[in-house]
């Protein structure tokens, strides 16, 4: 039953009817329906594990449905595989990247369709030219010759987008394309989508960010526990209503920070932290019971700061002081020994043992501390603890013995969070902790962060979602080009002030350098000026 | 190693480069020992190299190439495959490096002499004793160290041919190859013993095979088998002393090394050389193992 819509174009482009899909032990979809109309952006929302990605995988030919029919442009559709799907005009950007890390951007974009000079001989020059042309047309900040493995997650996402659009698809499916993007990049992406949508094309857009859906989508389809709930017009429905349909209940009100904690003792001082690659003289302190937000544009150095603190990357200089005494950290193990834990922004690469079960992942960090005597593991205690976290974080999994690989993206993220909760660190550095997490669960995680802070734990929260940073932080550290450009109290922090400091470019702009009180010669700006002269 | 080997030696010392068929095995170590002893006696310097197995023909060719590059005063060479080495031997000849073949002959006119024993004849001697030990009839097995190398095939064929011609009532089982590895030979032996309850004897074609056979028979607990071996070495000599092994044929590798250096020195000094120098072989068993002439050819 589709709600009446004001949109005049009602031609169905893609229809999904009565689709069932089960995995061993999991019924991911049952009697699923979906209708994408030509010329629209259809948002698809649902909780973590609701079955969104599974449906998209059916549409892109990665999985085959147990039952059900697909129709494209009125024609019945059988999708033989990923390649067939693209040939039919269905392009997908998966939630988990499908990139080849050792190849360049251009090589990734045109993989499988390389321009050739003879049957086997590649035309590398044309490849790069085509890629540059495509990237230019899409206004993406990418270098066609950059090696994809060296790019940040955000830039890798851009490569996925370029790759999907290069097929000139009729239907473009985007599975949480903005999870790794900050606001500016999201704007770029939306711009792209608007240009892409023509009367004969359509977009299915999966996201957990409601504001974003309001901005880009025409209609929204809600699913819950693998079943179709409803499709509504975005303009005619409030966010609260959509969320209520999603979670099947009303959510508690926003939890905000509990006030600035200037009175608390300083737990960790970071002074003059520098790395060869990026960081310059990063200095800040963290108080007990404080949530310290970190804001900045992509590549500002927030992740690098975190990795440098916990000893994941080599440091060029700087001093860490914990509770007044200097500490040295050469390896993440040292950091954890001092009670500093780091949750990475890239769960697949740095967070999870994908081929191990939920239990093993949740208990990994705390194993030696909480679940062993004399080196022997207490399996029962580990299992009990894992089950507890599965319950309290509402991780959707058939059991704690499920292989993590088979969890939905958001539930994987919850597993990583559970791992750090189990380890019980005094200082937790959460890098993009809500990436890929549904609205309901997000609230729960915010609450959790507040609870932790109230217990006296200190949290550094790196986030590319400004509203999140503003809502959660007692103070906000703003970074740009590897420097801390400003530390704002909650009272002074706003979208505008943060963006101002996040876009300062002291290395290239003398004015900006002056504003930060930096000596222009020392920063190399003078050299730059000379170079231009 | 003895002081003659390796780095020592001033410029005036004659230098003899020896490229052998092997290096790690006892037999080759005994040749090396003889060569080094004789060299230090004569005031010469020797180097001794050989590939890890007798199948590594190319590696031996590389070794030969490298040794010729050092312009030695004489070259001792035991060819794994004479044809492969011929161009290099010609090169040595053109550089006026006298070449002495050892262990087995080389199909070439370059070597001035060949210091060797007749593997086939030695194997035939072992066959003769085996036939006597089992009383001229019954089943006999063979554990051979290699199915392609000259020493492996000659010691196999010498045994087989003698049996065929002189002991028609003896059934010789298909030879099994253990690569000269004691453990593998022991495992093979146990399989042979358990699948041939009526077995009367086993012939082992080198030291590694012999030790393997001894171990395999001991472990299988089978009594009354006649074991005939090849080469010497402490374990084998002990087994012969205590009766586990009936006897063995041994060549005289230490003497081979010695004769090799003697021939090389003669060549360096321009003296005449006989066409071949036979270093001989001996049968030894419990009765004569302590005879001085036997004790002299045993190495351990």
């Amino acid at each position: 039953m589709l709600t009446e819509t004001a949109t005049p174009r009602t031609l169905p482009l893609l229809e999904v009817e009565g689709v069932d899909k089960s995995f061993p032990g999991v019924r991911a979809l049952s009697d699923m329906r979906l209708e994408l109309r030509a010329g629209e952006v259809l948002a698809l929302v649902g909780e973590n594990g609701a079955g969104k990605s599974t449906l998209m995988k059916l549409l892109s030919g990665i999985h085959t449905p147990d039952t059900g029919t697909f129709t494209l442009d009125g024609e019945p559709l059988t999708i033989a595989g990923p390649k067939h799907a693209t040939e039919l005009g269905i392009s997908i950007i998966h939630q988990e990247f499908n990139l080849v890390p050792h190849l360049t951007v251009a090589q990734n974009v045109f993989i499988g369709r390389e321009p050739r000079r003879a049957r086997l001989l590649l035309d590398e020059r044309r490849l790069v030219r085509d890629a540059r042309e495509l990237i230019g047309r899409l206004h993406l900040p990418l270098d066609p010759n950059a090696v994809v493995g060296d790019l940040t997650v955000a830039n890798q996402q851009m490569v996925e987008i370029a790759k999907a659009l290069s097929y000139d698809p009729k239907v473009l499916i985007m599975d949480e394309p903005t999870a790794a993007l900050n606001d500016a990049e999201v704007a770029t992406l939306h711009e792209l989508i608007r240009r892409f949508v023509r009367p004969e094309t359509g977009v299915i857009y999966i996201s957990h960010r409601m504001e974003e859906i309001r901005r880009i989508a025409d209609r929204v389809t809600v699913i819950r526990d693998g079943q179709y709930v409803d499709t509504v017009d975005v303009a005619a429905t409030s966010t609260r209503e959509i969320i209520a349909m999603m979670v099947g209940r009303t959510l508690a009100d926003h939890a905000g920070p509990q006030g600035v904690r200037a009175d608390r003792e300083v737990l960790l001082e970071v002074t003059g932290l520098s790395t060869k690659a990026l960081l310059k003289d990063v200095t800040f302190d963290l108080r007990a019971g404080e949530i310290l937000g970190f804001a900045g544009l992509m590549g500002a150095g927030r992740t690098e700061t975190a990795r440098a603190i916990v000893g994941a990357d080599p440091v060029d200089g700087g001093v860490l002081t914990l509770r007044g005494s200097r500490i040295r950290i050469g390896h993440p193990a040292d950091a954890v020994r001092h009670g500093i834990g780091y949750l990475s922004e890239d769960r697949k690469r740095y967070g999870l043992l994908l081929d191990k079960d939920v239990k093993a992942n949740v208990t990994l960090g705390a194993l030696a501390r909480r679940f062993t005597t004399a080196g022997f593991v207490h399996d029962r205690a580990a299992r009990a603890a894992a089950s507890e976290y599965v319950g309290s974080l509402r991780i959707k999994t058939p059991s704690v013995d499920q292989t993590t690989k088979f969890l939905s993206g958001g539930n994987q993220q919850k597993v990583v969070i559970a791992k750090w909760l189990a380890r019980d660190c005094d200082i937790l550095i959460f890098d993009e902790p809500t990436r890929g997490i549904d609205v309901g669960a997000k609230e729960e995680i915010y609450q959790l962060l507040n609870e932790l802070a109230e217990q006296g734990k200190s949290i550094i929260m790196i986030s590319s979602e400004l509203p999140e940073v503003l809502r959660m932080s007692h103070r906000v550290v703003v970074m740009s080009e590897g420097r801390v450009t400003r530390i704002l109290d909650a009272a002074e922090a706003s979208q505008e002030t943060i963006m101002h400091y996040a876009t300062l470019r002291p290395d290239e702009n003398v004015e900006d350098a002056k504003e930060l009180g930096l000596d222009p010669v020392e920063t190399g700006a003078a050299e730059d000026e000379e170079g231009k002269a | 190693g003895a002081e003659g080997g390796g780095a020592g030696g001033g410029g005036g010392q004659p230098y003899i480069a020896i490229v052998s068929k092997g290096f790690q095995h006892q037999f080759w170590q005994a040749v090396k020992q003889g060569a080094e002893e004789e060299a230090s006696k004569q005031g010469a310097r020797v180097t001794f190299v050989g590939p890890p197995t007798e199948a590594d023909v190319e590696e031996q060719i590389n070794m030969l190439t490298n040794d010729i590059a050092k312009s030695p005063d004489a070259l001792g060479f035991a060819a794994l495959d004479s044809q492969a080495a011929e161009p290099l031997l010609q090169q040595a000849k053109s550089q006026d490096i006298p070449v002495i073949a050892f262990d087995s002959g080389v199909d070439s006119d370059v070597p001035l002499t060949t210091v060797s024993t007749d593997n086939k004849a030695a194997a035939a001697e072992a066959a003769k004793h085996m036939a006597e030990l089992v009383g001229g009839s019954g089943k006999v097995a063979m554990v051979v160290h290699d199915q392609t190398s000259q020493s492996g095939t000659q010691r196999r064929d010498g045994f087989l041919e003698w049996m065929e011609q002189n002991a028609p009532d003896i059934e010789v089982l298909d030879p099994q190859y253990g690569g000269g590895d004691q453990l593998e030979s022991a495992n093979i032996t146990k399989s042979i013993v358990s699948s041939n309850p009526d077995l009367k004897g086993i012939y082992a074609s080198n030291e590694g095979s012999a030790i393997g056979v001894i171990k395999g028979v001991q472990e299988s607990g089978k009594q009354g088998l006649q074991l005939v071996g090849f080469d010497s070495g402490k374990a084998q000599v002990d087994a012969i002393r205590n009766g586990t092994m009936a006897g063995a044929v041994t060549q005289d590798p230490v003497n081979m090394g010695r004769q090799l250096v003697i021939a090389a020195m003669k060549a360096i000094n321009g003296e005449d050389l006989p066409e071949t120098v036979d270093t001989g072989f001996k049968w030894y068993d419990q009765t004569n193992v302590d005879d001085p002439e036997i004790a002299a050819v045993l190495y351990d």
């Binding site: 990475s344 967070g351 093993a360 599965v390 309290s392 991780i395 | 089982l173 590895d181 472990e219 402490k234």
Partner: protein
């Protein structure tokens, strides 16, 4: 306050998963059974007590090496130094017990520790100096090969004066029952290794490192330390294998060992341990080692000409592993 949701049902799963896991191992075992059954029918000499102990006996050295290497391979590494390293350990055993005339127990412990030392050096090269495991252990393989010759003076060291030493391998613990001690040693170390791999922190971290080394490190586990520990631990098995082979032969043979590494690794991989790390088991490794030694034994027992034995061995390994893959897919 976090609301718990009791849902997420399917309580029966864990048991199912466990049974499935067991079944998969049983299936690798099934290949072995088929091979056994075939030879039993094909040759009257195969199915005898004596031949069974012979097969077990011939599994001991490769099995011991393979058990240690299982840990290394589960971390995603490899150890090529186990073959020649074993020869070096055998020689060291000779040096300790024969040349230095240390008491037997001291000599044995010293040999095992010497193996551990070699593993430690491998571990340091790999974990601290970041040299790829293939290269680090290849270098150790060459060094051990050379040192075995140097230390022994290129001659075997005989344990003739040490009858107790050879008893470690060839003696019978229960007098009168023909069951070689070597097999008992293998079983005991397999059980110990199995417990360590499945029940202890060392084992858990071994799997974790192989599954995702970076994630493990970022979880606060000192991956360098544990990798060193794993290689050193695997080294103990090199030492033990050195004892087992020299005790069986009654002598330390410096030139032996080359090629054993490939056989041991093959046993591990046939047993279902993945070379890319993260999964594997001791039981699987033992089954893998048994498959190889049973095939070798059976083909010889059947008096197949030796040049054909390798051809058949290769084909049977292919078929056995392929059947395993098929069955796992179906399970």
């Amino acid at each position: 306050m976090v609301t718990t949701r009791e849902k997420s049902g399917v309580a029966g799963r864990p048991v199912g998963a466990v049974v499935k896991g067991r079944l998969q191992q049983l299936l690798a075992f099934a290949s072995l059974i088929v091979i056994f059954a075939f030879f039993s029918v094909a040759s009257p000499f195969f199915f005898t007590y004596g031949n069974f102990t012979a097969i077990l006996f011939s599994t001991v050295v490769i099995g011991t090496l393979a058990i240690g290497t299982t840990f290394v391979i589960i971390t995603g590494g490899i150890d090529l130094s186990i073959g020649t390293g074993m020869a070096l350990c055998a020689v060291m055993s000779g040096v300790f017990i024969v040349n230095l005339d240390l008491p037997l127990a001291v000599g044995l412990v010293a040999t095992v520790l010497f193996g551990g030392l070699m593993g430690l050096v491998n571990g340091i090269n790999i974990a601290l100096l970041k040299i790829p495991p293939f290269i680090a252990t290849l270098a150790m393989m060459l060094v051990a090969e050379g040192l075995a010759l140097v230390v022994s003076g290129s001659a075997p060291i005989y344990f003739s004066e040490e009858p107790a030493y050879t008893k470690i391998s060839t003696g019978n613990l229960i007098p009168g029952v023909d069951f070689p001690n070597a097999v008992i040693v293998l079983i005991v170390v397999a059980v110990i290794a199995g417990v360590l791999l499945t029940k202890t922190v060392l084992g858990r971290y071994t799997y974790s490192i192989g599954s995702n080394e970076e994630a493990t490190a970022l979880s606060g586990i000192d991956v360098r330390k544990w990798k060193i520990a794993v290689y050193a631990f695997a080294g103990l098995f090199i030492g033990l294998a050195g004892i087992m082979i020299s005790a069986r032969l009654g002598s330390a043979q410096p030139a032996t060992g080359m090629g054993y590494e490939l056989q041991a690794i093959a046993a591990v991989v046939i047993g279902g341990t993945s070379l890319s790390g993260g999964k594997g088991s001791i039981v699987g490794t033992l089954i893998g080692a048994l498959i190889i030694s049973t095939l070798n034994n059976g083909l010889q027992i059947m008096s197949i000409p030796q040049e054909w034995q390798n051809v058949i061995l290769g084909c049977v390994i292919l078929v056995a592993v392929y059947t395993d893959i098929l069955r796992k897919k179906e399970a």
